[in-house]
Amino acid sequence: MARALMTGNHAAGQALALAGEANRAARGCAGGAYPITPQTEIIEYLRGFEFGKGRIVAVESEHSAMAVCMGASLAGARAFTASSSNGLAYMTENVFAAGYLRLPIVMIAVNRTLGPPWNIWVDQGDSLALRDAPWLQFYTDSHQDLVDTILVAFRVAEDRRVLLPAIVALDGFVVSHTQMAVDIPPQELVDRYLPPCDVPHRLRPEHPATMGGLTWPRETEHQRREIQRAMERVPEVLAEALDEFERVFGRRPDGAFRAEHTGDAGAVLIACNTMARTLRTVVTRRRRAGQRVGMVKAKLFRPFLRQALRDAIGPATRVGVLDRNHSPGSGGIFWQEVAATLQGRPDVLVQDYVVGIGGGDVTPEVIDGILDDLLVRERAAEPVWEEVAT
């Protein structure tokens, strides 16, 4: 393994290039590239990479970036792109179309606040706005988690039991523009890990099917239910992909949820992306001070594995959710899922904390304050907004 210091964006670019190159003996790779802060370095890296069999097309919009991915996937190639914020919003129609066409595209989403107002800092509201699209969604907490998860995402998305596209999200700037030491695996290991991409329903002149044409309600309902069943097969496919990852690369990326100290914890906080790492600092310190608190790093948001989350939370009766996103008129989006997951547990107090909206720095002190609130709170209230210093 080559351990190197690099930004999150370059790590993501390298992982995509390795995955694309791993398909050179099959139909190669392709994708669309369009810049938007803070993901731009990813597509710059891809445009500069010399693929053995692949082409990254510099298009005129995110909408077309996803359209090129769809065409490439329909022609049997491994397809990928990257975007952020308003770019994802502009792409949305084709994001849905790619999923409904069951095309195993992988997209990096560098999380950034949706505007207006114009704000380039991190907020997960951009990719979470795509939660109702038929895509897997992974949230990563570090450079290494990002690289590993990108490779895992291709393997799961392209598996015949799944055949759905996948988003791999990371925090804008906090990960995309900071450097950490990362193990970038050599091409031969990625070749071994990723089987040739085979899109079984790709367009073929010898079998001239029409994809995406008119269907009646019954056929449409069947198609939607097939997507739901494919989502339900993700846990077994992901588990296999993680096992195989460990065999090939010698380390095991986190799965859907990573529970820490929840076995005996009375209170548990849940967070995704780099907030989970800050949360880990707080929980570790509190454990040393003898407090029975725990945490869950939420990594897989779609599908949302409710039983896996219940298992991860354990016996805790106080559960707080850190949401760096906000659904106006409701609350944090992770909280909605957590509350639905725990609806059979009236003994559990579930409280939402909307925090770091628009990229505010969620420091250990901020999380300390949230944990203090959760530990003494008598009953759950509407989502609490935690203001942070800019």
Partner: protein, 298 residues
Amino acid sequence: MTAVAPQPNRVSQECIMRPGNTNCAGCGMSIGLQLLAQALEGERPYLAIPACCGIVTAGAFPTSAYASPTIATTFASSAAVATGISAVLRQNGDESPVICWTGDGGTYDIGVAALSAAAERNEDVIYICYDNEIYGNTGGQRSSATPAGVATTTTPHGKTERKKDMMAIMAAHRIPYAATLSVAHRGDFLRKIRHARATRGFRFLLMLSPCPTGWKSEPAESVELIRAAVGCGLFPLYEVFDGLRYRINDRPDGTPVEEYVSRQRRYTSAQIDPAVVRARVAEQWRCLEALATAFPAD
């Protein structure tokens, strides 16, 4: 659901649009698909078709009227989806034609950014617009291809703005080949498709497509209407090579514009002035002749 077996067809070897589709009588797009198949002589192109009557042609799952591999793209995306298909075919040594088959809404309006970008990149794609000058599939609303004066459901008193000159826009991209197609000029139509097929890079073909439903015309007169449109000079037949060399294929033969406009209630209901149409036709020809003289293809 019972799948209906396709009927034996004389030209089944050349067919792209199979018999048994539900297109309107007198539909220019249907004629265009048949001519396209004849020109390609049995080759099955990859088709990227956005939201338009062209994808309704396929019919309902699990049957399809298309004998070619076809993707129904989102409205704005046919040129970008075709880019992805073409990129992957070419890197695998497959030279099969990739064709966008689109209406004017998907070309002049919502798809113009993706189209312009694919043309600027000179993608190895054939883009064919069947231009019926309205959003036909949604019942006949104005597009930027609708000529001035025409009544549509969203311009009930006649459109006040002029038709966008898409050929000029595409020629300005300096693409290898751009040409207009008439369903009333079969030989010219087939020759142009074959030239497009033999050319590499981005090729743009614009076909004036009669739509009896939207034009309020007689289905049986569709081909004659297009002959009149060419004859009166309203729809010039010409080719542009590399965006800079012009060849005019046919010149006005003295057919009065009334021969064209008076047979369509979309014109007559708005009571447009044929003198205005004549003036614009003359202006268009001055421009085209000047280009063909200054930048001749031959």
